[in-house]
């Protein structure tokens, strides 16, 4: 498998009043056309890793890496114009909460068309047709109606489907999904995940799935990176999760209450300072 994305020694740091905070401290991995999960608690640097690849790190932060290459393009030295062309066209990102990440004053259809017309020279009618097709592909029953709705007029599950439609409409090769379902109801979560799963498989995209839910990630991805304090502490095949060696990974696996397992009290993570070294 040729590498779609190569990340070597990625570091993201934020200067603050009280000193430099290193959110990501030397993350390395390569990604082919596969599903990769990144798991960790809040503050482990998992989202910042995704954002750095996408080029969405805040301006005052510093991003350095030995290599950060997407399909042979060095992302760190790429001019802003090239990055804008990549973003949305070849690399796309699904964010957590559709309530906050969709434009509230633009109809859903127009937001999808905007992505398309930014990256391709096509007519309005053609863009509209493709947007409607895409809405149908994310299993929205009445695409023509939803096309004209505003984000506040749809439910969370519908909003997240619209977001997936928006991100996939330009046919990206790499999709970064940052907690795509944690703002949704359990039942809706599964629908959205299966839509995402189907589209990723059909289109042969590379997927980076960022989440704090280790079980969810392992059921969705081929390979999982477990992050703690800005570093990867363990890399493991999803099928092999039961044999996780790092105590942090084991802790994340065990701390969820499971139906039918009578464990009182629940095991909690005993965070060791040496994990962060």
């Amino acid at each position: 498998m040729s590498a779609l994305l190569t990340v070597e020694d990625l570091r993201v740091s934020f200067p603050t009043r009280t000193g430099v905070v290193e959110a990501v401290r030397g993350v390395s991995f390569t990604l082919g056309r596969e599903r990769l999960g990144i798991v960790g608690e809040s503050g482990s640097g998992k989202s910042q890793t995704g954002r750095a690849i996408m080029g969405l790190t805040p301006l005052h932060a510093q991003v350095t890496a030995k290599t950060l290459a997407f399909d042979g393009i060095d992302l760190l030295s790429a001019p802003p114009k090239l990055r804008r062309d990549l973003r949305g066209k070849r690399i796309a990102m699904i964010l957590q909460d559709p309530k906050y990440s969709l434009n509230p004053v633009m109809s859903i259809g127009r937001q999808i068309v905007e992505t398309l017309r930014r990256h391709e020279k096509i007519s309005r009618a053609e863009a509209r047709r493709r947007a409607l097709d895409m809405l149908a592909a994310v299993q929205i029953r009445d695409p023509a109606r939803v096309f004209d709705l505003y984000p506040h007029e749809v439910s969370g599950g519908m909003g997240q489907r619209a977001m997936i439609a928006m991100m996939l409409v330009a046919g990206p090769e790499l999709l970064i999904a940052d907690e795509p379902t944690s703002a949704l109801d359990v039942t809706v979560q599964l629908e959205v995940l299966s839509i995402l799963d189907k589209l990723v498989a059909e289109r042969g995209m590379g997927l980076i799935f960022v989440s704090h839910d280790l079980r969810l990630v392992s059921s969705f991805c081929d390979r999982v990176l477990v992050m703690y304090a800005g570093r990867i502490v363990e890399e493991i095949a999803a099928s092999d999760l039961a044999n996780a060696r790092h105590p942090y990974t084991q802790g994340l696996l065990n701390c969820m209450p499971v139906i039918g397992a009578d464990r009182h009290p629940l095991p909690v993570l005993d965070r060791k300072p040496e994990w962060a070294l």
Binding site: S42, D185, T187, L216, F220, P257, I259, H264
Partner: protein, 253 residues
Amino acid sequence: MTVAVSVENLSVVYDDFRALDAASVQVEAGESFGLVGESGSGKSTLLRAIAGLAPVSEGTIRVQGRELRGARRDKAFYRAVQMVFQDPYGSLHPRQTIDRQLMEPLAIHGISDGERRILKALDEVGLGSGFRFRYPHQLSGGQRQRVAVARALILEPSILLLDEPTSALDASVQAEVLNLLEQVRRDRKLTFVMVSHDLGVVTHMCDRLAVMQEGRVVERLTSADLVAGRIAEDYTRNLMVASKGFRRVAETA
């Protein structure tokens, strides 16, 4: 066993939307009762109606035998019933120290030994006295939710209303807060009414639960029944499947 909270045919109507439609639940004293359902099923509305935070249009609410009318609650009610909200980022005052937020209920109720109670409450939720003069933004999500629990416990209530107390927290921190809640329930023989969309959490914490859909209670069952799969309603079964996590449907090649 005595009934701690009894809700009969309760309806809550916002304009022409029925958030709660003739819902009834009975919670025994000392038990832990769960309310499960999707967003919009009315589970939080039911909890808020008990606390006087939702406009009741029909039905009766009784807490420890006393009927509550309207949205006004007297001091005795708040001594007996306290609530923990979902989002610890929103439920603590951002510009007050933890000390001041814990002092407020004591001041309202004219309780004098504040000093001792605050230290005891902080100790009980596993935060040392070092956290006493900090502001909410200096705490992590889990620590903030611990403060919210401490604030609820400081009046020594007998009933705790919990509205998704851990859904804003990381999985690993969730375990800590759930353990804390179980611990205080055991120590103080509290009655819990807990809302959650996560069946795993509810079966872990509660003895009995009610499944809600579109403002109505569709099924009442014990956690043991749920675990054993003795389920009558399809809706409950769907929730059960959903909570087992994502399964890839075998692709037809």
